[in-house]
Amino acid sequence: MHPIETRNITKIFTSGIFNKLEVRALDDVSLEVKKGEIFGLLGPNGAGKTTFIRILLGITYPTMGEAFLLEKPVSHYQLKTRIGYLPENHQFPRHMTGERILTYFGKLSGLDNHTLRNKCEELLHLVNMTKWKGVRIKKYSKGMLQRIGLAQAMINDPDVLFLDEPTDGVDPVGRKEIRDILKRLRDRGKTIFLNSHLLSEVELVSDRVAILKRGKVIRSGATTEFTKTSDEHEVKFDGSISDDLLNTLRSYNPALRLEGNVLTFTTADRVTINNIIDKLRKANISIESISKRKGTLEDTFIDLMNEDSAP
């Protein structure tokens, strides 16, 4: 069994008089996350990502289906000694300092005082918050709160770490640091479940991803499957292309486009590429670069979102 497993999870929220209004937040979601991998759950707002994490943590109950963490049903609250969680928009008690937050939630995670002391120092250093440890969190910026939140989630050295928008409000340097921390944790065999809107972030760290739309998993797989290199080529050049030359180039590839000083065309045929380059060189056009365009997770995500716009 995997550290995270769900079987046919469905969650229906009801509201209104006699609970007549129903919203299907999750619809038959079955996912598995393997030990030692970083798994990214993607989806637009309201797709059900946070609800899914909350069900795994026993914060929300599923209407149907089963969820397991570390081989036990999620209703076993004692298993949370091995779990860490950074919620989206977390609200720590504002009277606490960063260090006190770690101590408080560390104690609630079952750590003894000696372990806590060492762990606090280590984590404050890891998230670059040692200097601010004695300051009340009401004075913290969003990025600092995220750093302390991340340290809080790691205080009990969890086997499974759930992070909901961990880089929200964090500057680019901080994001890189967080990515490095996550990679190091993965290398130590920790399992990381990541929810994020920042697809480029997810792409950089995740081993596998799943995309949720309206509560359903519409695609899942290795991140590399979502970011395959396409056959689209870009040629950047110096100078100008005459209409005659452009027509000649289009005779090799009718879909060829010219935008400013960039020619774009899609082909898998090496002869066509060479013919186009030869014609450009013959016309004394100086070529700056030729590159094959790499598909991004964002492209796939947007394609998938648009694909199913019709019901």
Partner: protein, 279 residues
Amino acid sequence: MKSLTIILNTVYESITRLTLLFYLAFGTIILLVIAFGLRGLYDNGILIGISFFGNQIPVIDGIDPSGFIFMTTVGGSMSAILLLGVFATASIIPETLRKGTIDIYLSKPISRLELLLSKYMGAISAIGIALFYFMAGLFIIIGLKTGIWNTDVFPALGLIIVMFMCIQSMSTLVGVLFKNMGLVLVFVYLHIFLFSPFLRLRKELVGILTENAIVHRIFDGLYYALPQLSEMQENVSFLFAPAAVEEIIKFSYTPFLYSLISCSAMFLLAYIKFKRSDY
């Protein structure tokens, strides 16, 4: 261990929010007034009476005059004690249930019962500390000024804490249901200052409107189902009544017992709702 951590943090949180400090400041003002105004009157070393800002209360046939001081001080400041006490602790449950806070608590290896009970105990402890300060202060000041060490102050402290246990159960239930500090204050203040006195006088007041037995039964049911705060308030001050007037104003534990049952039921309802809720 985890429960103790939450209880201590809840007390600390109350202190840092200043609401508890305000409560302590109020107690300090009353204590200072008594310390400055109260004086023992002696004749050849024997206490013959006490004076409070010039108003003399003589010792008559061995009746303890400090009882009157306690009755008037504790009874008179009871409304303020309740008002400020509720205000100091009303935010504890709604703040715990805020999105982003409850998520972190419930992701820790702690049961929902342990969490709710610990927050409840934390609120009671915060109020308990403030009350102990006030009552112990009264005991010491009156003892030093008059030489009478009235130990009834300690059972009275216990009974006021029982009152707060009832009030906090109500705060917990309303907090779990509505997650809103304003509504907690409205419900609890309405009960303390309106429903409870009304239900106490229900026979007379409802009798004016109707003779219908079913209506009377409904109000009787509400009277026993809800904490009997008015009776408890009155009985705390009766505890200090001198022996000579015990026949007229008689202390009774009954409202405390009924209220404890009622507050247990309210806490249980709050727990059931909390246990079943999605956050």
